[in-house]
Amino acid sequence: MTEPAITIAGLHKHYGDLHAVDGLDLEIPRGEVFALLGPNGAGKSTTVEILEGFRKRTAGDVSVLGVDPHHATKQWRSRVGIMLQGTAERGSLTASEALRYAASLYTSPRGVDEMLEAVGLTEKAGSKPATLSGGQRRRLDVALALIGRPEMVFLDEPTTGFDPEARRQFWTLIESVRGDGTTILLTTHYLDEADHLADRIGIIAAGRMVALDTPAGLRARAADARVTWTEDGVTRTEETATPTAFLRELLARTPEEIAGLEVVHPSLEDVYLRLIGDAANVSAGEDATQEGSA
């Protein structure tokens, strides 16, 4: 296989004392759909904007399609499609004019009409951004990012603010692109979106990668069940892969009625929340240590 689409090694981005990205390592092979998942302020967009060549990094090595994006060339730009986080409400060009202009910048662009159809904007081809809904503008942004037939696509929080129906449509659109070998890096704070679209998910919190796995792998982490009960007036918890066996043993040694007995299978969301929660605790602990030593 060829070199990876993206290589990140020891990436740091500091704003004064704030470590927005705090030592990130990642490799994304070509053709993969990768989701960077995390809460607001976790460092997702900072990382993506460094990869897009918009931000300088404090330290670390980064390569996108074999090029350091900090030294992006126009040739490199023609191989990369970018959908920024915000959407353009202004602008005097109609959807089809904007796409036609964008297509003229690339050597082998996708067709304007096909692109409009793919994002469901055929009816709105003659509309300007001001008369499109937020979701429609976002779909036009996707079309603009894909029109140049890029090898690498960045989608920064593509569905934030979408209603569930619009998000489903967006997912269908992305699935239609992934087939032709395009590498996609998307950021999201929706777990179900990452689960649905991505080959692999990187969970990022406080600027660090706290988990890197396939959706199935992450779900497997949720396999352990949590048994909760009260014994001698104390609430106790046991996490176990074999809750039935554990219950049998618990019942055997406890003849009386067990108070507050509960068996819970954590969802993927519980796994996610615990991961980002741990990261928040770790960084809070570090802050306390730093303050103590200061």
Binding site: L93, S104, T107
Partner: protein, 272 residues
């Protein structure tokens, strides 16, 4: 999705041309630009011309005739400097510039398209102003060497205005401040540079202040094109001062270029 092969590989020229068309559409479809930048000098020419038009300034030159070159000069400043500074500041604030930067469009093609758009708008604007002047206020078209003077004053004035406009867009911290800061600045120059008032009739110290900035020289250069030769004696220095005009405009252009190159950024100031 099926493949559509483009018939041609994009070149610098084709991308500049394509961007020029986009810039012209953006300008002509923005009401503020059309009203306050494009039509404003014409409205002022008609207004001042009908109010003060008959007054004679010097030997057979009416105020309306004096006002025409002033309006042409400030049209160049409006379109190049004010409009460009504000529109680029807005585009930077709204991430429109960042979007441009995300495409393979070369920066030189982007600026070439902007400058060409300014030139195109200015040419149409000046043609309309001259047509109004000729039709209503007995203005005369330049002859012979007048066209040559017009051409270099116009090109040098536009060059200085556009580079200063791009430079100013970076110095302004945000788009909201842009028009609030630039409008009074341009108004001050218009009052002191021989546009709204006759240059020789304002206090000498204000003349000196105005003489630092390009508009005074641009207006004087345009007067040398559109007013009779006899008016030259009525200028503050008794001369059209062509060499000095070329030098001052060129210096401002170079200053604008240096500041532009050093300060221009595609992203917001807080976005790094």
């Amino acid at each position: 999705m099926t493949t559509t092969r483009a018939s041609s590989v994009p070149t610098w020229m084709s991308m500049t041309r394509g961007r020029f068309v986009v810039e012209v559409k953006e300008f002509t479809r923005t009401r503020e630009q059309m009203v306050f930048i494009f039509f404003f000098p014409m409205m002022l020419l008609l207004l001042f011309g009908s109010v003060f038009g008959g007054q004679e300034i010097a030997d057979g030159v009416s105020f309306a005739q004096y006002f025409l070159p002033g309006m042409i000069a400030s049209g160049i400043l409006n379109t190049g400097f004010q409009s460009l500074a504000i529109s680029i500041a807005i585009d930077r604030d709204s991430d429109a510039l960042k979007r441009v930067h995300a495409t393979p469009l070369p920066a030189t093609a982007f600026f070439a398209a902007k400058v060409t758009q300014v030139l195109a708008v200015s040419v149409v604007q000046i043609a309309a102003l001259v047509a109004i002047g000729v039709a209503l206020y007995d203005a005369e078209l330049p002859t012979g060497s007048g066209w040559w003077t017009f051409t270099w004053v116009f090109l040098l004035g536009t060059a200085a205005s556009t580079t200063l406009g791009i430079a100013m867009s970076s110095l302004l911290r945000n788009a909201k401040a842009a028009s609030a800061i630039l409008t009074p600045l341009v108004l001050f120059l218009q009052f002191t540079s021989g546009v709204f008032l006759v240059y020789t009739q304002i206090p000498t110290f204000l003349q000196h202040v105005a003489a630092v900035f390009p508009l005074k020289w641009l207006a004087q250069g345009m007067r040398s094109v559109f007013l009779p030769e006899s008016f030259e004696a009525a200028e503050a220095s008794g001369s059209w001062q062509h060499p000095a005009t070329a030098i001052v405009l060129a210096l401002w252009m170079v200053l604008g270029l240096i500041v532009s190159v050093r300060t221009f950024r595609w992203t917001r100031h807080d976005d790094n």
